[in-house]
Subunit: 95 residues, 2 copies
């Protein structure tokens, strides 16, 4: 393979990484907004029913190459990170 | 808050989830392509230097609300999932 092609693919990968970063942070902002509207504060409690509903929708739309179990795992990590962020925001408001 | 606004935000969240799904799978396809070009097979070995380089670029671009440590954690999960996928693809070729 040509080195140029390889470099091109690596650049594409870096670009996709930045897209993932952007959409993860956009999701975090949205979750904060929902939490604020819901409770008048930034903490949204864990809602297993809503979480399952979101996961089911994502998995239903999954066409791979990642398998459904992998997608579930990654999204659970994202959900957890969002909850942790809300906890941090709550603490910072209490200081 | 109005119920309509809440529903609207939930729909936005579902939409963002699907965007994350799309870009995660796009990343997985790109990693497979790089692996194929690199080795003539679908397995790309773990490359800690390249992984660190990718993480540094992502963290440098991070403007929050997720903190850098959270972004690092989520991306490590994504990298690991990509490696696992490559292993699965390799096994399926060997059967």
């Amino acid at each position: 393979m040509s080195k140029a092609r390889f470099e091109q693919l690596r650049e594409q990968l870096d670009q996709v990484n930045l897209e993932i970063l952007e959409v993860l942070n956009r999701r975090a902002e949205l979750v904060s907004e929902i939490g604020l509207l819901k409770n008048g504060k930034t903490t949204e409690r864990f809602d297993p029913i809503r979480e399952k509903e979101m996961l089911d929708k994502v998995v239903a739309a999954n066409e791979g190459p990642f398998q459904n179990d992998t997608i579930r795992h990654l999204f659970k990590q994202i959900f957890q990170a969002s909850l942790n962020l809300q906890e941090e925001e709550k603490k910072s408001l209490l200081v």
